[in-house]
Symmetry: C2
């Protein structure tokens, strides 16, 4: 660091600790290696365990560490890039997308969603639950809200409620002409059910990707996908036609 200011710097211990640990991770540890336990590390650095934990939390947030109760703290691999913005618009469930339908229920969506769908407050919609795996790990959980108008005639069928029903809702979507979509990304914390599916604790930081699908001049479906923020880097292929950079993993040399 060129500019070490001494003026206004009572640098917090946990911040300094984080820096020290970060450098140690770079030079003295390899991916997957387990660190000494928290009590050991705390006493080694001469701080309280809570302070040490504050530093570890930061590093976990940045995707450098992975902590698992009952197991230990390990050095995390570099974040995996997960493609989110497919170059061409496509309905969820279209051939070759990365998602796997889990089940489907019918219920009233959260108000924020019903507002986007322009449905009544208590109007029920199909809620398709999907999950996304990458390299054998769950990286995202999605709730796809489909109003009846976008998947007509399904409430009558009463399909065997489950992935079969989910698939039929997705099939129904394909029949509409997708005219556009609209995406937003924000930080959130995992709800209990999402956390379970993502193999994290409730409240874990997640990137929430909200997508609106437009068809027939209205919002035909809304997807709310929550990605593990610690392990994922969301990539958007806004590129148009340049596509050279499909490097699945670039190794640090």
């Amino acid at each position: 660091m060129g500019t070490t200011q001494l003026e206004t710097v009572p640098e917090p211990k946990y911040w300094h600790l984080k820096t020290v640990l970060s450098e140690a991770l770079d030079s003295e540890f390899t991916v997957g290696e387990v660190l000494p336990n928290e009590r050991e590390l705390a006493s080694r650095f001469g701080v309280a365990r809570a302070t040490l934990r504050q530093a570890l939390e930061q590093l976990e947030l940045e995707g450098r560490l992975q902590r698992r109760r009952g197991v230990g703290t390990t050095v995390a691999p570099p974040r995996m890039g997960v493609a989110v913005g497919t170059a061409q618009h496509a309905w969820p469930g279209a051939a070759g997308d990365a998602w796997q339908p889990v089940d489907c229920t019918v219920a009233a969506p959260p108000v924020a969603v019903s507002r986007m769908l322009e449905t009544g407050r208590k109007e029920q919609v199909h809620i398709v639950r999907r999950s996304r795996m990458t390299h054998g790990q769950p990286v995202a959980a999605e709730l796809l809200y489909v109003p009846d108008a976008s998947a007509p005639g399904l409430s009558a069928i009463e399909a065997p409620s489950g992935s079969a029903r989910a698939r039929s809702v997705l099939r129904a979507l394909q029949r509409l002409e997708l005219t556009g979509q609209d995406r937003a990304v924000e930080l959130g914390s995992a709800r209990a059910d999402d956390a379970k599916e993502l193999d994290r604790l409730p409240g874990a930081p997640v990137l929430v990707v909200t997508t609106r699908f437009f068809a027939e001049g209205r919002t035909a479906a809304v997807s709310v996908a929550t990605y593990r923020a610690d392990t994922c880097r969301l990539t958007f292929g806004d590129t148009g036609n340049v596509e050279i950079h499909h490097d699945p993993e670039r190794r640090a040399s």
Copy 2:
């Protein structure tokens, strides 16, 4: 499903607390209102201050609260949507973008950036610092890395180092034909300097948007923009042309 499970639930206090507070915020508080101080709240709920703080942290992460040292905790306004993916590709600094050049230095970029630029490890590049304001608040800080090949003839000029120099680097970029771009979003924590510019504490959660700009068959520039994760919702206009959603008619409920 109205089934409240009682089986495996020693729900953490801070989690329950967060839920209670969240509901209270919805019903009993208005945006901008200040909450009672932490010691007061903790004793009111019968928990230690640290536990109360854990709940507040979560709510702040979700953008529900804003805490400022020496001032207090206030109810945050809904996150503002900030446009990140302009429909058509454009160089940074093109007419009407939301950024304001701050200064410009010449230095070697972080290795991760030099790898994207395909420059040598210690090769120096122009580093333009820009900042982005919305509604009078700073929402993002950006470092734009421009290799000499993309802005030739500037190292000689030695412009009066500052926003003037920054502007001339940006002008140089406009002369190249932009053939594509490539974006990624991930969670990070604010470095000390970014934190200062964003009016947050170091380590505050940020959304890091990394953009590669392609021209002349190579990566002509790399932008690393850090957005305040608590106040921002990043929006991507992948839409093409659909853009308006009045509610033309509310579906009958």
